[in-house]
């Protein structure tokens, strides 16, 4: 029986109770071609160090739980394969730009708060009674916002965004994509209210069009497009309000 191939995972560890700062710890993991980085971490937890802490759930790139820095790039661990990182060692770190809670788990309270700020629900454009039945929406109308609805809140885009890293008050890619998902929905009439969250420095104006967020997104949401279109809208509105005579 040939020896199983192994790869070294260099994992960033941190325990607030005992550590002053994070440190790398190496684990030699036997693997087969079909194993993901997530499975590698699970091997470590099951056989080498039960204290290794990381988030995961679906194992199939839909829950958004297992976002981490794999080889220095924001990736979903379940969607990254150990065979692609030979000969190793492969560095595995928690998502950048977030405070480290423990090992590979980061604090995401800030993002959860931002989700609320963009009012992520349909504010009916026209009041509709239940007995009027379901809304009708054409494929063209759906296409206008569909990609923005695919966000799984994995936060890879925030790890990719240096402006968020430099100033965490920035609304950021995913929250703005969600904002546009509702603004562009034909059923919705809440754009004016939502734009209040967009107009400030902490809204979309922190963005400098780096574009890395859209590069790393596992669901092709294209948040860079959402943010930069919102900048254009916000800019047009900035000038238009003088014509309207308000603010």
């Amino acid at each position: 029986m040939p020896e199983p191939r192994t790869i070294v995972l260099a994992v960033l560890r941190y325990d607030g109770a005992n550590d002053v700062a994070p440190r790398f710890e190496s684990f030699e993991v036997p693997f087969t071609d079909d194993m993901s980085v997530l499975q590698g971490l699970q091997y470590v937890k099951d056989h080498l160090d039960g204290t290794l802490t990381f988030r995961w759930s679906c194992r199939m790139a839909i829950c958004g739980s297992c976002g981490m820095m794999v080889g220095g790039v924001p990736r979903l661990a379940c969607r990254s394969f150990l065979r692609d990182f030979l000969p190793g060692p492969l560095t595995v770190e928690p998502l950048t730009h977030f405070p480290i809670e423990r090992d590979l788990v980061v604090e995401i309270d800030d993002f959860v708060g931002k989700l609320g700020r963009v009012k992520p629900w349909i504010e009916p454009r026209v009041a509709r009674a239940l007995d009027e039945g379901a809304y009708r929406q054409s494929p063209g109308e759906l296409d206008r916002f569909e990609s923005f609805s695919h966000c799984i809140n994995c936060l890879l885009c925030y790890a990719a965004c240096p402006q968020y890293g430099l100033d965490p008050k920035f609304l950021g890619p995913a929250a703005t994509a969600l904002l546009q998902r509702y603004n562009l929905d034909s059923r919705d009439g809440g754009a004016k209210e939502r734009m209040q969250a967009a107009h400030s420095e902490e809204g979309v104006w922190g963005c400098t069009a780096v574009g890395y967020c859209s590069e790393v997104c596992p669901k092709a949401v294209d948040p860079a497009n959402a943010v930069n279109r919102t900048k254009t809208e916000s800019a047009v509105d900035w000038f238009a309000r003088f014509a309207r005579g308000d603010d």
């Binding site: 700062a21 400098t208 859209s214």
Partner: protein, 131 residues
């Protein structure tokens, strides 16, 4: 209850961590060169307003090896700016649907670069016609 002491990592040297960021910085660093050219052109306009002697001096400086080398570099930087500008432009636009298909970002970029090449050709011909 376990002790919670979230650790915040430094942003020092963030742009050196990934080739994508290095390219972003290169794009942003075209700005001082664009400003430099504008100031060189402005100097020319000022010298022109000051009279023939001043303008002759200006042209002499332009003909110096240092100035020529600088302008060769500036052409390179401005061409890089053209490409990177139109590379990011599709991100600022809503989707364009032509005959039921979305126009790809790559198509928008190459189309815009072609328009730029055309504008530059027109500018050269116009300068030739006016001069």
């Amino acid at each position: 209850m376990a002790v919670r002491r979230p650790y915040v990592r430094t942003m020092d040297g963030w742009w050196r961590r990934d080739p994508f960021f290095v390219r972003y910085m290169a794009r942003e660093m075209t700005a001082p060169f664009v400003a430099l050219y504008a100031l060189v052109l402005l100097a020319g306009l000022v010298c022109l307003a000051l009279g023939p002697a001043a303008y002759e001096d200006y042209v002499e400086v332009l003909a110096s090896p240092a100035s020529l080398a600088l302008h060769v570099a500036l052409v390179g930087v401005l061409v890089y700016h053209t490409f990177t500008w139109f590379q990011i432009m599709p991100k600022t636009m809503p989707p364009i649907v032509l005959r039921g298909r979305r126009l790809s970002a790559a198509a928008i970029t190459s189309g815009a670069v072609a328009v730029a090449a055309l504008c530059m050709a027109v500018l050269w011909l116009l300068a030739g016609w006016l001069a």
